[in-house]
């Protein structure tokens, strides 16, 4: 049986599933109708860029409530210039000293728990 994503509609192996607004031209994540920036219902699904740059990073050393995955885990913000977005994301690197502002980052799918996967960004 293939691994299940932590939640449907967030990502595929090809990347994050975002929304592209036909009215304001901006993208968002996760996919949502109406557009969270301009409230238009003219939103179509788009696969976001898998290449980005690191903007913010830390490591979470204690499991927050409702989380049963591994700790520590990398946590941060990656800029996706092709989409005009900055996304909050897990990072594959859990040692903050190994990361630097502007590092090239790439989308990947990672195990979260037995039978469950989620997405993360790691250094390209």
């Amino acid at each position: 049986m293939p691994d299940e994503p932590v939640h449907p509609g967030l990502f595929t192996d090809a990347g994050l599933i975002g929304g592209a607004c036909g009215a304001c031209g901006r993208r968002h994540f996760p996919m949502a109708v109406p557009c969270p920036w301009c409230r238009s219902d003219d939103v179509t699904t788009v696969t976001l860029s898998t290449e980005g740059r690191l903007w913010g990073w830390t490591a979470v050393t204690a499991a927050p409530p409702g989380y049963d995955g591994p700790v520590p885990y990398g946590f941060g913000i990656v800029s996706l210039p092709a989409d005009g977005l900055q996304v909050v994301t897990r990072l594959t690197e859990a040692d903050p000293s190994a990361l630097h502002e502007g590092d090239a980052m790439r989308f990947t799918v990672v195990p979260l728990a037995p039978g469950t996967v989620t997405w993360a960004f790691g250094r390209a």
């Binding site: 939640h7 927050p64 409702g66 946590f75 900055q86």
Partner: protein, 373 residues
């Protein structure tokens, strides 16, 4: 219409055997005693974790029901939201006297919030200290603040709180001790984060002056976030590159200054949201206590310590008191009323006449409250 604060009361913030209702009873009784009357036209109760009818339970225990009693939730700003609504009702002539209080009893550790969807919790997107850490990193990048500065905020506030009988922690700490506490989320160490805890605070508002000292509520403003910024307090999953809207704290402060007819240069004392040490430095900039990028310089100048030009968090802040969400913002107001009356003993800010309280938190609600005597 002038709105006066005629009485304040508090149950110490910390860990207690009492339930939230009992703590609320003690805080409300103390505030009404100061006001010299048990008469009020309405009651607003700030709470985030209290459950249905938290305010009713407190006033039911005191036999003070009959008028409207409304619970108000606005995350960390819940108590200030209650204050804002009460002050507006008095200013509009709807009520002459309003009781505002907040009660909370929270579990230890990272705050669990229904704000996050179950999948966000499961996937690791609910670590409040993680978001604080990302914000701290951005602040350090643009202001030149260092980890030593973050430790210095903790040292300052714990020193202030050492003489506050209402604080959870009443002891001084050193910078090496702060930096030796374990890293929760780099760059934030455990002692740089406030503790969610328990407590209650109460304030009596009136259209007429009264109580132990003439304190006026000049402004009580609430604002929420503008979409676009990835690090806004609403913890969105994404933001727009280059989007730089004003923060809810900036908007609340600007509106409060305009409403009160005072500017940041008029302030004598400030209580601000030091959920983590970096959050206090960010507040310096958002409240216009210093120019953008100037927070670390302001801290290093000593201006924000008691004895300095503009003491910030003379109560010891949330880093000393802890943060019972529904009561937290009113705890700040209790401290500032006592400062304006000159009742604060070892932590008194001499001659304080104009004071500002600031809170910000989940839901991206921020408040700014201005008091004068």
């Amino acid at each position: 219409m002038t709105v006066s604060i005629t009485g304040v009361g508090m149950h110490p913030f910390g860990r207690h055997a009492l339930d939230a209702t009992s703590m609320g009873v003690l805080a409300v009784r103390a505030a009404l005693r100061e006001a010299g009357t048990e008469r009020f036209d309405a009651a607003f109760c700030g709470t985030a974790y209290g459950g249905v009818a938290s305010g009713h339970r407190v006033l039911g225990a005191l036999g003070l029901t009959g008028g409207p009693i409304v619970d108000i939730e606005a995350g960390c700003a819940s108590g200030a939201a209650a204050l804002s609504i009460a002050a507006g009702a008095i200013a509009a002539g709807q009520y002459e006297a309003v009781l505002v209080f907040g009660v909370e009893k929270m579990p230890k550790g990272i705050i669990r919030s229904s704000f996050f969807a179950p999948w966000q919790e499961a996937a690791g997107f609910s670590p409040a200290p993680g978001y604080f850490a990302l914000r701290a990193q951005q602040l350090m990048r643009h202001s030149g603040a260092t980890k030593d500065d973050l430790a210095a905020v903790v040292v300052k506030n714990r020193r202030h709180g050492a003489s506050n009988a209402d604080a959870m922690f009443q002891s001084c700490v050193t910078a090496p001790e702060v930096l030796a506490s374990r890293v929760v989320c780099e760059p934030l160490h455990l002692w740089m984060l406030c503790s969610p805890n328990e407590g209650a605070a109460a304030v009596v508002l009136s259209s007429r002056p009264g109580g132990p000292g003439p304190v006026e509520l000049k402004a009580a403003v609430l604002r929420s976030h503008v979409p676009g910024y990835v690090l806004n307090e609403g913890t969105p999953m994404c933001g727009l590159i280059g989007a730089d809207p004003p923060t809810p704290s900036q908007m609340a402060a600007e509106a409060a200054y305009a409403s009160a007819g005072v500017g940041p240069g008029d302030l004598d004392v400030v209580e601000c949201q030091d959920t983590d040490a970096a959050r206090e430095l960010l507040a310096y900039e958002e409240l216009q206590l210093c120019p953008a990028g100037g927070a670390a310089d302001l801290l290093r100048s000593g201006a924000t310590a008691i004895g300095g030009r503009l003491p910030v968090n003379p109560s010891g802040g949330l880093l000393s008191k802890g943060e019972p969400l529904g009561a937290s913002a009113l705890g700040q107001v209790v401290e500032l009323v006592r400062q304006l009356r000159g009742e604060c003993g070892a932590r008194q800010v001499d001659g304080a006449r104009v004071a500002l309280a600031h809170t910000v938190g989940r839901g991206a609600n921020a408040s700014a409250v201005i008091l004068t005597r």
